[in-house]
């Protein structure tokens, strides 16, 4: 099954791996935005997760603890965002940008002396089962994070759709005043959602530095956080579409790398632009000719809440 020098089975298998960071970050951000908060600091939280996960994994020798460290790093940065937007009622757009600038700086400060080190490897979960032709590499040959990321998407879908907690999160995101009048603690619910979003972004970042690359360089996430934000719009705030969007973008980035390796006629620079250009194209197609409500965006997205009574 070769197509222009590219094996389809390995392509599918590697796009599943490539899409993990943006899928985790996007599903976390989806929950944040469903609660009515727009956190533009995904890139900063991812890169913090990348370095914290890397340091934790190198220090303990355990990749699992690395991912825990990554999630904690992302959540710690998200806590700053929560303090500023929920506590100090700061503008969410500006605070998110500040979070990204701060995260990029802090991560490169923390990462001093970690360049050129190899982290402990994250191995395939099912070992030799991955050797089975075709379905092996696609379904059984991955590390545990790939399966966890899909499980998280399923879990978020189930929680938002069928549980009381999901209903409350959606209520807070659609109308914080109504939710407050019903007696829900708007700030507390949003805080938990923001922390969850930060932890997921941090795990996604840790996947970049521990599995995808795997080493530490400054600004390692290279815009993946922004692509994750775009995927949430692409997904119309629906969890399963996040999975689809992440696979689409994972596929594009893998394909352009394969094309580079296969010595395609298109210059390397133009190929590496592809994920960003396609993000723009997808945003245009998704948003064209439709209002905010048709897009399914949470009604209170980006608005701060202050309980005057």
């Amino acid at each position: 099954m070769d197509l222009g020098g590219i094996n389809l089975v390995t392509l599918v298998a590697s796009l599943m791996v490539a899409s993990v960071p943006i899928m985790l970050a996007a599903i976390g951000e989806l929950v944040v935005e469903k609660s009515g908060v727009l956190n533009l600091g995904v890139e900063g939280m991812m890169v913090m997760g990348a370095i914290c996960g890397f340091i934790a994994a190198v220090a303990t020798g355990s990749p699992v603890l690395g991912f825990v460290g990554g999630a904690l790093g992302g959540a710690a940065l998200a806590a700053i965002f929560a303090l500023l937007t929920l506590g100090f009622l700061a503008n969410q757009v500006a605070t998110g940008l500040a979070l990204t600038l701060f995260g990029l700086g802090l991560s490169s400060l923390l990462g001093q002396g970690y360049n050129g080190i190899k982290p402990p490897p994250t191995t395939a979960l099912f070992g030799p089962l991955g050797e089975i032709p075709v379905i092996g590499p696609i379904l059984l040959g991955h590390d545990w994070v790939v399966y966890v990321s899909i499980l998280v998407v399923a879990l978020v879908w189930w929680v938002l759709k069928s549980t009381r907690a999901g209903l409350i999160i959606r209520a807070v995101g659609e109308s914080h005043d109504a939710a407050h009048a019903l007696g829900y603690k708007v700030a507390r619910i949003r805080l938990l959602c923001i922390l969850f979003g930060g932890a997921m972004a941090g795990m996604g970042g840790a996947y970049v530095s521990l599995v995808r690359v795997p080493q530490w360089v400054d600004g390692i996430t290279a815009g993946a956080g922004w692509i994750a934000l775009a995927i949430v719009v692409f997904a119309s705030w629906k969890p399963w579409r996040v999975l689809l969007g992440a696979y689409l973008f994972g596929g594009i980035s893998v394909l352009q790398l394969r094309l580079q390796a296969a010595g395609s006629a298109i210059p390397v620079e133009y190929l590496s632009m592809a994920p960003y250009l396609i993000t723009i194209l997808v945003l245009v197609i998704m948003s064209s000719g439709r209002g905010r409500s048709a897009l399914n965006a949470p009604a209170a997205l980006g608005q701060n809440f202050h309980a005057s009574r």
Partner: protein
């Protein structure tokens, strides 16, 4: 019990006091950070904020201040117009790169012709390059309702790959022995942007920054467009009833900020940077966001904020060579400043009350 109470009118003291308090808090917490890293915090703060102005090498460093402040002020003024109207152009870095590439390409195309008109044409081309790059998110927003934050940001990454291609491909110096990077403008007088007064650090970019600051002040406080910009930021619905066309405002604000970022890029590449190289841009487009907020989105405030931020750059470089402070620490320092600023903004519109809530 602490609680917040909305002020009937915004506090004038906090409106102007916030940046000062934020700078002081950043010095304290930044000092703590430096102390944690094992560097003497007092020495670092002195190196960053005092030495560039009054220290031993101040005669040289004061000039560096203007070199760094020029592009920051130019870009931040453009961004502030949009931010005031709720139009978020985050991709100034990309517009800065594209302005530099287009402007430099025009100059290099006529190398080695000597003509007085070459530099003005390059300046125009630079502004046009930045403008065109900003028009992409602007038109996508007005025509297709696309989020301008994400599109302008994505275009930064695209601009960076174009820059890589320019410095290793279509703008590479043919006499450069195979090294990446374009011809150096310092050896091409008609297209160069030299220091205007020796030792001052003032080049055409600095002049442009001050002219633009005054123009922006006039626009915002004396012109109907400035009024419309402020109105749509503070009360979008009222603005629409008052006949402000939001689409036109998006195109205008994005275009202006793009053109100014492009100008900054061109002045930088023909002056201090000297050539198109793969990393001639040093993130001014992103730092300018901090400058815009630090200056309270006010043109004159932005001039002061730009100089202050330039101080942290120049002083930060000093601190990294003299005291071994990692250069990333300065980035953290700048990020902290923005955090404190955003947090303290609360006190402009709210007042902190102690005691239990009254029962109505």
């Amino acid at each position: 019990m602490l609680r917040l109470e909305k002020r009937p009118i915004p506090s004038r003291f906090w409106l102007y006091g916030t940046p000062v308090v934020a700078v002081i808090l950043t010095m304290i917490f930044g000092g703590l950070l430096f102390a944690l890293m094992g560097v003497n915090p007092f020495a670092v703060i002195k190196t960053i904020f005092w030495d560039p102005l009054f220290g031993e090498f101040a005669f040289y460093l004061r000039g560096q201040l203007l070199v760094k402040a020029g592009p920051l002020i130019l870009i931040a003024i453009g961004l502030s117009l949009g931010f005031r109207a709720g139009i978020w152009n985050i991709g100034a870095e990309g517009q800065y790169i594209m302005g530099a590439i287009i402007g430099a390409a025009v100059g290099l195309a006529v190398f080695p012709t000597e003509n007085r008109l070459i530099y003005p044409v390059m300046v125009l081309a630079g502004a046009l390059g930045g403008w065109a790059w900003a028009m992409i998110p602007a038109i996508l927003k007005t025509r297709f309702n696309t989020n301008e934050i994400l599109v302008s940001l994505m275009l930064v990454y695209v601009a960076q790959t174009i820059l890589a291609k320019a410095s290793t491909g279509f703008l590479k110096n043919p006499e450069g022995m195979g090294f990446p990077g374009s011809r150096n403008f310092s050896s091409y007088p008609a297209a160069a942007n030299p220091e205007l007064i020796a030792g001052s650090g003032l080049h055409w970019g600095g002049v442009a920054a001050f002219v633009v600051a005054v123009a922006a002040w006039v626009l915002l406080s004396r012109h109907i467009i400035g009024f419309q910009i402020r109105l749509s930021g503070q009360a979008p619905r009222a603005a629409r009833f008052a006949g402000v066309a939001p689409q036109k405002l998006v195109v205008l604000c994005m275009g202006l900020s793009g053109a100014l970022a492009g100008l900054a890029g061109l002045f930088e590449v023909t002056g201090p940077a000297g050539q198109i190289s793969i990393d001639f841009n040093v993130g001014y487009g992103f730092t300018a966001i901090i400058v815009a907020f630090l200056g309270r989105l006010n043109p004159l405030g932005i001039v002061l904020a730009g100089i202050l931020m330039a101080l942290t750059y120049v002083g930060g470089e000093m601190a990294s060579t003299n005291l071994g402070l990692p250069s990333a620490a300065i980035q953290v320092f700048q990020g902290m400043l923005l955090f404190f600023l955003l947090a303290l903004d609360l006190f402009t519109n709210y007042r902190l009350r102690f005691g239990l809530r009254e029962i109505a």
